[in-house]
């Protein structure tokens, strides 16, 4: 068809008229939302509560419209942990609440153990099912065959679980906490003897020497870590804090530190002892502290006349710098410089704690790192290692004697912690599947799973699945359809943390006890029920004796009871602005007590309005509380370990001193695997949040799916190019991942991020991580994993 000039002009003019009239009579296309639909309107209220997406315990303010729609989560400015800020996880709580993966009603499995089909049932029926099972086990005198596997859980909820098991008659409260940041580290426990974890006053330290602790990315309390980093780098601070990161991979923390010291994987303990060698050799250590508050530094003669080698002789004999430098790959002058800085820039802390690195370092490595704090006396001082105090909640009344439950409680635990093989273990969740499968020491009939997702997180996941299939009844309290819940027989869905009433005791990095109140910001969206309420309800249905152990009507009544302890203590005050904090401190230091509430009702009301209670004071120098070892001192030579291993009759003193194992070479699998945790991904559970998955690998420009980091030279050697898909294979199994070349990874190391959802694909690093635990604590020691890489 030919077109004349006139046609063209006609077309032009008509189209311009059309365009103009389009402006005259605006048309709303169906895909255009109106403004009001996108931004919901309503009367807003701000409800203070507490985040629960990691153990940090940040105070949040939830913006709720018309009392029913949550639209924003922000930090609570009065809360001493978050002080008005939050990490990205906190903001993403919205997507947790409104997640499509939420379980909306109680569910019962249909079609046998291998099926993944569930049917909806009512709450009354669901509770009756569990209660009748509990009853029948009690009638058969098999109360001990009931166990609870528990993840992150604090305060009265934890106490209620413990009480439920005690009253019922089972010893099996199993903490699946090998992965939790707040677990007391076995190495630190051996030296300090305290069953509670220590904290490091990061913002007041002048020198932070971190051994593989990725504290600026995946700390147990990220907001406190980020704020400390800000304060350390404040240009008004004199002197500015210095941060050194010792790690085989350039992590986010290493990238933000003043110095990154690449080290051969698994040899961090040797470097720590090399630094100790320099501190002792040059007399730089705190001699006053070492002589007053430590045990086992100098060699000594015991009452039977045997001479024991002390830490000093041990380090001077075995860890000269050239040897340490050879093992660690760190130049001698760097070690000298680190030691001198560590001694001169006081207060200084040596940090080994993190979340997953917990499982990448052996107990002795951690002991070696902690011994540096001991040498410099960085205990009970501002900017040092502190042992936090806990909020004074009232303890529950004792349970009336019941021969049936006493007998059950005294049975051995199903996961057999503290056994000869792992003498330092308190819980052995990874031992659970084997014991269940072998009926050792007895068959398990009923398992409750609360806030834990072992099929996602445990390195023995395959056997966990088999075990779950074997147990006659598995009850999950998960709010989401996660990997473990699929294998449950019954799901009693919990409220999310935004719909639940709960207390949340925690502490700041300065050791102040903090009691926050997690209160429902909206009514539960679905037919879910808070698990503490379910426990109270169940106790009333089992029998009278159980019922008498739970004299409370509901969980709020339990909370009021627990809060009485806080009121009676007369300590601390409600959260307030910094001025009020200083005022409380001034008064308390002078022996005055003037909390802003006068009675229990006012305390209850104040906690609801402000978000919680705290006591901004730390009493330094309570050495008996801090060092609970036999010598009441910090022990370089662990008498706790000696006591635990007395049956083995070990004569060599080195075994009780920090003696980190030398990493073994493996021919078939030459590469070391380092699993790191991205801040955006929670560690214990699989968070259903697209926002977080979308921000996961910021530096690598990778998101949604995990990847494997390889040194470019190593990749060249293996014939791998950037973004190739490769198999990562260990002796246990293999996973397929996208290779990313990353010069910040040492040539013999590969790194994989942890925490991406499994999605039934082949990329959960759990599938290749070693099952071999740390020999003393029984905790998974993933740092031992060796792999090889090849192209798909």
């Amino acid at each position: 068809m030919e077109q004349s000039r006139r046609d063209f002009l006609k077309f032009l003019s008509s189209s311009s008229v059309l365009a103009f009239s389009g402006g005259l009579f605006p048309v709303k296309f169906p895909w255009q939302d109106s403004f009001d639909e996108i931004v919901p309107q309503g009367i807003e209220t701000w409800v203070p509560s507490v985040c629960q997406l990691c153990p940090g315990g940040c105070g949040i303010l939830a913006r709720v419209l018309d009392g029913k729609r949550l639209v924003k989560i922000e930090g609570n400015p009065l809360h001493p942990i978050s002080r008005g800020t939050l990490c990205p996880k906190g903001y993403a709580g919205l997507q947790v609440l409104y997640s499509p993966y939420r379980i909306k009603t109680p569910l019962r499995k249909v079609g046998g153990k291998d099926s993944k089909q569930f049917e909806k049932i009512g709450w009354d029926q669901a509770i009756d099912l569990v209660a009748s099972k509990l009853k029948s086990l009690r009638d058969e005198n098999k109360t001990y065959t009931f166990a609870v596997l528990m993840g992150q859980c604090r305060g009265t909820t934890r106490q209620l679980f413990k009480r439920f098991l005690d009253a019922y008659g089972s010893p099996n409260l199993i903490d699946n906490n090998s992965y939790r940041e707040e677990t007391p580290v076995p190495g630190v426990y051996l030296m300090q003897g305290s069953p509670y974890p220590s904290v490091y006053d990061l913002e007041n330290a002048n020198y932070i020497l971190s051994f593989g602790s990725n504290w600026l990315e995946s700390f147990w309390s990220p907001v406190q870590a980020f704020r400390s980093f800000g304060k350390l780098n404040d240009d008004k601070r004199e002197p500015r804090g210095r941060i050194v990161q010792v790690e085989p991979r350039l992590s986010v923390t290493a990238a933000r530190s003043n110095q990154w010291v690449p080290i051969n994987p698994g040899t961090e303990g040797f470097l720590a002892l090399g630094i100790a060698y320099m501190l002792i050799k040059e007399n730089l250590y705190n001699q006053d502290f070492v002589s007053k508050h430590t045990f086992g530094f100098e060699s000594w003669k015991d009452p039977s006349g045997i001479v024991h080698s002390g830490f000093k002789d041990y380090v001077l004999n075995d860890f000269n710098l050239s040897q340490v430098s050879f093992i660690t790959g760190v130049p001698i002058d760097t070690i000298i410089r680190l030691a001198r800085d560590f001694a001169n820039l006081q207060p200084a802390v040596a940090l080994g704690e993190d979340n997953f690195n917990l499982s990448q370092q052996s107990t002795f490595t951690r002991m070696a790192i902690h011994s540096l704090n001991g040498l410099m006396g960085s205990f009970e001082i501002k900017g040092g290692v502190l042992l936090p105090q806990v909020p004074p909640l009232s303890s529950f009344p004792s349970i009336s004697a019941d021969p049936l439950s006493t007998e059950g409680r005294n049975k051995p635990r199903i996961d057999s912690p503290g056994n000869d093989k792992y003498p330092l273990s308190k819980d052995l969740p990874d031992n659970l599947p084997d014991n269940i499968l072998e009926d050792k020491p007895y068959p398990l009939n009923l398992l409750f799973i609360y806030n834990s997702d072992p099929v996602f997180i445990s390195s023995v996941r395959g056997r966990f699945i088999q075990a779950l299939k074997k147990i006659p009844m598995v009850v999950s309290f998960s709010a989401f359809m996660d990997e473990t819940s699929e294998y449950a027989d019954l799901i009693l869905p919990d409220d999310t943390y935004l719909e639940r009433l709960e207390d949340d005791p925690t502490y700041t990095l300065q050791g102040f006890p903090v009691l926050s109140l997690r209160q429902p910001v909206i009514e539960p969206l679905y037919q879910t029920k808070s698990t503490p309420e379910v426990l109270i309800e169940l106790s009333k249905k089992v029998d009278d004796k159980m019922s008498s152990a739970f004299p409370w009507k509901d969980h709020p009544e339990v909370l009021s009871f627990a809060l009485k302890g806080v009121f009676d203590s007369g300590r601390g005050d409600l959260f307030g602005v910094p001025f009020e904090e200083i005022w409380t401190r001034v008064l308390e230091k002078r022996g005055w007590k003037a909390p802003s509430y006068k009675n229990l009702e006012e305390l209850n009301k104040g906690i609801k309005e402000k978000g919680g209670w705290w006591d901004p004071i730390y009493k330094s120098g309570e050495w008996d509380r801090v060092f609970k070892t036999p010598s009441k001192k910090l022990e370089f030579y662990s008498q706790i370990l000696k006591e635990r291993l007395k049956d083995q009759n070990i004569k060599d003193d080195k075994y009780f001193l920090p003696n980190p194992p030398l990493p073994e070479k493996e021919e078939e699998y030459p590469l070391y695997l380092r699993v790191f945790v991205l801040h955006a991904l929670s560690i214990e559970r699989n968070l259903p949040s697209p926002w977080l998955k979308d921000t996961a690998g910021f530096y690598q420009k990778e998101k949604w799916h995990p990847w494997v980091e390889i040194n470019p030279e190593k990749a060249k050697e293996l014939g791998i190019v950037d973004k190739d898909f490769v198999w990562v294979e260990s002796s246990k199994g293999r996973i397929k991942l996208k290779a990313r070349l990353f010069p910040g990874t040492m040539p013999e190391v590969v790194g994989i991020p942890f925490g991406f959802e499994d999605d039934r694909k082949d990329f959960n690093p759990i599938k290749v991580l070693t099952e071999k635990p740390d020999p003393l604590s029984g905790m998974p020691n993933w740092g031992e994993t060796r792999v090889k890489l090849y192209k798909t």
Partner: protein
Amino acid sequence: MGKIAFLLLLFIAILVLAYFWLQSSGVAQPVQFNHQLHIKKVGLSCEDCHIYFKTQRFSGIPSMDICAGCHSEAQGKSKEEAKVVNAIKEGKTIEWHRIYRVKRSVIYSHRLHIVAGKLECKVCHGDIADTIKPPRRPLVKISMDRCRDCHSKMKVSVDCITCHK
């Protein structure tokens, strides 16, 4: 001749279109509400009808209950008032239209500006109190420059994140 007539017609057409354009742009309210009468003569304050601006982000378009406080019975002879009285009697809602909007990317809070910033309504809403019928478009053009100028003058942060979230 034909050419002149064509140009004249075109000119008239443009005028007509321009008139319609001016008329149709802006927002027509269902009732010609007289702010001046309510404020200057009756003596109401802004907060009597826009009840939320001290506590919420929005100031709130008055609900029918607020109108019914006075207009459940006719107070005068105005046709516009009769619309309101009828609507109240029939239980209908008058659909007032918003004319002030900020971009979607901006989070604006009346509470912050009025309570913390101590601004008067007219800083942004102009002489709305003197109008005898609802304006078709905002009396004051709200632009980012205007926000920034005022923020700088009042020594309030002009960081992007202050308003854009």
